[in-house]
Symmetry: C2
Subunit: 352 residues, 2 copies
């Protein structure tokens, strides 16, 4: 099959062996797979990513310098259970042609992180194998590209759940790339308090307002902490969705007394903070990652029934041949919010 491989920051297309489903596993066609900020990190900062992942443990990890097929935000179509599908692990709940999403985790004796492991391909390839127990049917009528956003929306939902909001806090979302937009989309329609977004890019501010921000500010022109809804707030929760060195210390300086900072952006590099500034204001930080199975299911349901209005976030769909160029162009935030890779985009290359 055709796949996009990544090694030490290089991306290329190559024909590789089709993956073979083991017991309890299903062969699927990857129909749509979002490019995640973590994928960009993995390509641009492979060394940092691998080093920190090896040291930190946890679920979110690229621990290999071998070639990998990235892609963990996918919607796929069931092909076949394969010759090894027998025994108590295989329930045969799915049939060929059915659309599914899945937590990107393959339940082998040692669980594998789909999209980060050299042993199985992620969604930037024509075929993948998934664990039946992790798979969820996509409700009828849900667009494939919207269903592919189940995973990043679960990340946003999880961040909100970890923040334990009472619904009345003022919210400040710093950085409105895909993660910030997921937070805004999940807040939208349920949160009573004001929701302010901040991003340097006009394009991203535009998306932020479309996904539910009451106002989207350019921090180079207007200090978001001087906005009346933030200044007046009795309680302030800040979602840090940028993840670059210096952001936390900047927030320590800018945030008011008792602000709660939810760290959703993934900063791979070592970072410098001045604890005494946070101490003087009694700030709190909650670092968050991933989501639960329940949050994944909630996210898929909310996308299917329209509560999570994700369609505007998908700004383009590219084929495997364009992945490398797209990774380069995502450095420019003006044009794109979420780019979805469709491995079958050129019908001439579709071998079915």
């Amino acid at each position: 099959m055709k796949a996009v491989l990544m090694q030490r920051g290089k991306l290329w297309v190559e024909n590789v062996d089709d993956p073979t489903p083991g017991p309890g596993e299903v062969l699927v066609k990857s129909l749509a797979c979002g490019i995640c900020g973590s994928d960009l990190h993995a390509v641009r900062h492979t060394e940092d990513f691998v080093t920190t992942s090896r040291e930190a443990g946890g679920a979110f990890k690229l621990t290999t310098f071998d070639p990998v097929v990235l892609g963990h935000e996918f919607c796929a179509e069931v092909v076949d259970y394969g010759p090894n599908a027998k025994g108590p692990d295989t329930e045969r709940r799915f049939s060929s042609g059915q659309l599914v999403c899945s937590i990107p985790m393959l339940l082998r004796s040692q669980p594998l992180a789909i999209g980060y492991d050299e042993k199985v391909p992620g969604g930037f390839a024509e075929y993948m194998v998934l664990s039946e127990r992790m798979m969820r049917p996509v409700p009828e009528g849900t667009p494939v590209t919207a269903a592919a956003l189940t995973e990043p929306m679960a990340v946003g939902l999880h961040a909100i759940n970890k923040a334990r909001l009472n619904g009345r806090e003022a919210i400040l979302v710093i950085g409105t790339g895909p993660v910030g937009l997921a937070v805004l989309t999940a807040l939208s329609g349920t949160h009573q308090g004001p929701i302010i977004a901040s991003d340097l890019s006009p394009g991203r501010r535009h998306f932020a307002q479309r996904q539910g921000a009451d106002a989207a500010l350019d921090p180079s022109v207007e200090d978001p902490f001087a906005h009346q809804d933030i200044k007046r707030a009795k309680e302030l929760v800040i979602f840090e969705c940028v993840g670059v060195p210096g952001m936390l210390d900047r927030l320590f300086l800018d945030a008011p007394q008792d602000a709660r900072i939810i760290v959703v952006g993934v900063c791979l590099q070592a970072d410098q903070i001045r604890p005494m500034i946070a101490i003087n204001k009694e700030l709190s930080l909650q670092f968050v990652l991933g989501y639960s199975m329940e949050e994944f299911d909630t996210s898929l349901r909310a996308i299917a029934d329209g509560r999570f209005d994700v369609a505007p976030m998908v700004t383009s769909e590219v084929g495997l041949d364009d992945v490398e160029a797209t990774f380069r162009s995502l450095a420019d935030p003006e044009a794109d919010a979420k780019v979805v890779v469709n491995p079958w985009l050129d019908p001439g290359r579709n071998r079915d």
Copy 2:
């Protein structure tokens, strides 16, 4: 009056003018005043302390390079209201000879931090002025040195309150200097879950067990995170009471998934962390500082009625002439937990 002055890390004894109480203020004799870790910081890292305080704002601050009289953990004896004590601000609730404690804050048009401000002396001097509204009578029979621990015990109580404990978590107290001991003392007798302490010093581990730790470990010999009570814990709350650079990153590496870190130790220097390690484990940090008026009152009451058993923590009492030497010897944690300065220790120098 006789006072200990501090400027840019130097400490010396000098005769200075007695302070004059303004409206709503009372002249008191400082009878006992604890040496706080922040005092040590102020002397050893004046430059860092002032720079960060000026930048950070907040209540806990030394913002001047002028000579100051340190000391903010005191018990004092009422002398007189003074000639300016009239008008609606003066209630005359206190009488001469009465023992009092006070939040170290003087309520002038611009509130002054007693013990950090060049305009009024702290407790390392024979006399001070206090705001009547901040003063609390010391209950009958409470030893003066115990009452002087009201302020640091309020810090420990506040840290516990900010941690919002359910009473069943496993607790790990890292560092059992005066702050760690205050946390242990305030937890002791009310917390149901296991309480483990960790400190490099045998002397401090000894104090930790006396103040209620179920076990006190030497982290150079035994990894506290490998202790069975910590490993088995469903919920773990870590009180970081050291406050030196590198501690937070070390805790990020060592702490288990979902651990909550309460940052009580005051690290004045810039510090380096690796956010991704905290992200992978979904750790949270709550920075804490100070206490409320209510917590101060609770602390004084609990000391008076014996619930906060602080007497063993007071390991020595020194006069003003010995303050400078004591600041140097506190670098050695073996001998001392809390040292209390008694400006009237040598009766020959008592001018009353």
